[in-house]
């Protein structure tokens, strides 16, 4: 940055002091909203997984307990719904697993970068 640029930065840095108190209530509201949002997402994802799991189990039970003269169309519907339920559970769990791994991996990368910077200093 040029010398003039540095001077501008210094001048901008020295503006009047910041008072966070007018925003304190707003911060509380935002944090509550964030907390509620995360809770809703968690509950909804568990609900979806539970629904898919229940669907798969019920369809498998129907398939196993179906009478010998059950129509092939109905048996096929049970099988398709069971596969759909299992795929749903698998995909949801897989997505969750990948996301958690992604976050853990990225945090580890950042932590390593931070350590390298500290060592270099």
């Amino acid at each position: 940055m040029s010398e003039f640029g540095e001077m501008i930065k210094e001048a901008l840095l020295g503006e009047e002091s910041f008072d966070p108190s007018p925003g304190a209530e707003a911060v509380k509201a935002v944090l509550q909203k964030f907390d509620r949002r995360m809770w809703t997402v968690r509950v909804l994802s568990w609900f979806v997984v539970a629904f898919m799991f229940a669907l798969a189990i019920v369809m498998i039970v129907f398939l196993l307990q179906a009478p010998a003269d059950e129509s092939p169309g109905l048996l096929l519907l049970y099988a398709v719904l069971a596969v759909f339920g299992m795929t749903g559970v698998g995909m949801a769990k897989g997505y969750w697993f990948l996301m958690q791994n992604h976050f853990a991996l990225m945090k580890e990368v950042k932590r390593t970068q931070l350590l390298l910077i500290e060592k270099a200093e």
Binding site: E6, E15, E16, A26, A29, Q100
Partner: protein, 187 residues
């Protein structure tokens, strides 16, 4: 703390937020509130409006942070939201808040800031600080994004929603205007 280290810590906090940690979100707000508020204040020219803009910004961040693909772009993303919310506030008010430019006689501005609240500075810095007050608010925003926050021209263009060429020319004019005002005050 070096900029690089601060940036890495911010990215780790963003990742924690994306994983659903409310504590991390509180830390994120603490670390960014002042900088984002100052940007909002420069854009709106009013303290109350800046607080409104900031609240709306954080609400937008709570909705979008989980979908943010790359934690490294959080800084630019947050500034972009502030700029959009401020523009929306200005549209809703039907006016553009500007700090009055220097008149022909070099008269003091009506919105002059309280000097007693500012940190002490060297003569050159004090002079420059005074000159900055005479600069229109959109020029102040550009200078602060470039020199205080360290955004490059491409990032500033994204934040303010204007072409890169316009950013370059406005930055050039802002610096020239500032030099001109400093010379007039110093005379």
């Amino acid at each position: 703390m070096t900029n690089q280290r601060r940036q890495l810590i911010d990215e780790m906090i963003v990742l924690e937020c994306q994983a659903g940690s409310t504590e991390a979100f509180e830390v994120l707000i603490t670390r960014w509130q002042e900088r984002l508020w100052r940007h909002a204040f420069r854009l709106t020219g009013r303290e109350e409006a800046a607080w409104d803009v900031i609240q709306e910004t954080w609400l937008a961040i709570t909705q979008g942070i989980v979908r943010l693909q790359d934690a490294t772009v959080f800084r630019r993303w947050a500034y972009t939201i502030v700029s959009r919310k401020a523009a929306s506030w200005q549209r809703s008010r039907g006016r553009l808040e500007r700090i009055e430019p220097l008149d022909a006689d070099g008269n003091v501005l009506s919105q002059r800031k309280d000097a007693s609240k500012r940190s002490p500075a060297s003569n050159a810095t004090a002079l420059l600080r005074e000159a900055l007050e005479y600069l229109p608010s959109d020029r102040q925003v550009l200078l602060s994004l470039r020199h205080l926050e360290g955004f490059d021209v491409h990032e500033i263009a994204g934040i303010l929603g204007i072409p890169e060429g316009t950013v370059k020319s406005r930055l050039h004019h802002a610096r020239e205007e500032l030099r001109h005002i400093v010379e007039r005050i110093d005379r």
